[in-house]
Amino acid sequence: MNRTQVVEQLPGLRRYARVLTGDAWAADDLVQDTLERACGKWLLWRTGSDLRAWLFTLMHNLYLNQRRAMPALAPLDIEDVRDQLPGAPVPSDDALDLERCLQRLPADQRAVLLLVAMEDMSYEDTARILAIPVGTVMSRLSRARARLRVLMERTSAPAPSPSPATAAAAPKPQPQPAALRRLK
């Protein structure tokens, strides 16, 4: 294998880690850890097989382990407390909304959604990377998409009147066509 093959994976790994962790520093740390993990694990990589998929596998194991190791550090979600905050939440664009909503998905659902939709991986590759059956990929994908849609609708609901619409009546967000259109 030549060195450029690994180096070529870096931008993709960084982008993926960035969206997965939702944090630039955490993302590069994760990529670094992944590469270090790779050093000790090369025997498990079959020469000539898909390097990208293999590095993604390492990254996911690390990521999920890290998350399991520090549940206490789960960030407080601004959406949950925004009615108690003195000021209005910062005006955000669609991409920021999307990233914030992604972080509110359970990690395993987020991973499936990102591998399938962002990285355009096949369901089989996704299943291999996450070491789960394809059926589980499908059900997580379905749940991730349903949940993300709800979160996005709630986020893009008119901000000036958040209390009645999103906090009090949270369990019953009428999918307004206007909110849907904002996603485009």
């Binding site: 180096v7 090369w42 379905s142 998409r145």
Partner: protein
């Protein structure tokens, strides 16, 4: 479908909310994973299903949005730390792959020996007429083998330590006196470190290594371009090593004996090419990723310096 969304918002992330009644095939359609004919059929089938078409369109839109996230990172410069980590990882892979190949070879050699040994045990019951002669051949082979093995081990040792960034040697050239004393003691022979500065190579240092028959030493040199060569040396057989005249004896005592033995052999069988030669029962190998001519010039310089 809208009613099921309520439950999807439950704060417990791991409690599986009842799924909206979607179908894996819808996702496959949205993700472009269906063969064209199947996709067309499904689209037709969903013609009147407003909710399904809405969901699929929404997911496809989601794909586009996700794919546009942080596109900048795909073109941004990668931080040096990550680049270094990637190169380290690749270096590990190369080394491991090399070991794997060599390990496989070593395993087959070992297997051959084990089989030979087992066969020998079986044969002792009934002495076959050709047996003794066979054994003699094997002995001759074994007698010839140590030199080749020595050369191989030199090449592997080179391949292992040459790429080391942080610990290429155990004792650096700054402690050369200590290095020479230490390795001389461990190898049971007063050693001398050849100077290759005229050839452009500075001593990096040396290390002690295990060989077939005892301790071996490796000296590493490096030129201005970072190219590394290693000189590997040690006794070839334990018995003759103890009988070695060089044990404290003046080195010029056996020039006649060595002159014939010191024929340089070139080998390319290891991970790196190299020249090796023997002197008495001591073997030397100079390895490096260099041309044959360059290696020969360096080996000659080493050989000449070791004569005095």
């Amino acid at each position: 479908m809208t009613t099921t969304r309520d439950t999807a918002m439950e704060p417990r992330p791991h409690a599986a909310p009842p799924l909206p009644e979607d179908d894996p095939a819808w996702h496959a359609l949205a993700d472009g994973r269906l063969p064209a004919a199947q996709a067309a059929a499904l689209r037709q089938q969903l013609e009147g299903n407003e909710a399904a078409r809405d969901a699929i369109a929404h997911w496809q839109q989601g794909r586009d949005q996700l794919q546009s996230l942080h596109q900048d990172l795909l073109h941004a410069a990668v931080p040096d730390a990550l680049l270094a980590a990637a190169l380290r990882a690749a270096g590990h892979q190369e080394r491991q792959a090399r070991w794997w190949r060599w390990g496989g070879m070593a395993a087959s050699v070992l297997l051959a020996f084990v089989l030979g040994w087992a066969g020998r045990g079986q044969w002792t019951g009934g002495p076959a007429p050709g047996h003794r002669r066979l054994e003699g051949d094997a002995a001759a082979l074994l007698a010839a083998a140590p030199v080749q093995r020595f050369a191989q081990q030199a090449a592997v040792a080179h391949a292992v330590y040459q790429p080391e960034v942080r610990h290429p040697v155990e004792v650096t050239a700054s402690q050369q006196e200590h290095l020479v004393q230490w390795l001389s003691k461990r190898l049971g022979k007063p050693l001398k470190v050849p100077v290759l500065v005229p050839q452009g190579y500075e001593l990096v240092g040396g290390r002690l290594l295990p060989g077939d028959t005892g301790a071996r030493a490796q000296f590493m040199y490096q030129n201005a371009a970072g190219q590394r060569i290693t000189l590997y040396l040690g006794a070839l057989a334990p018995t003759s090593a103890t009988a070695l005249s060089g044990h404290g004896a003046p080195p010029h005592e056996n020039p006649a004996a060595t002159a014939s033995a010191a024929a340089f052999q070139f080998t390319q069988e290891g991970p790196v090419p190299g020249f090796y030669w023997t002197e008495g029962s001591f073997g030397y190998a100079l390895s490096g990723q260099l041309s044959r001519a360059e290696l020969l010039a360096l080996a000659t310089a080493v050989y000449q310096q070791l004569q005095f």
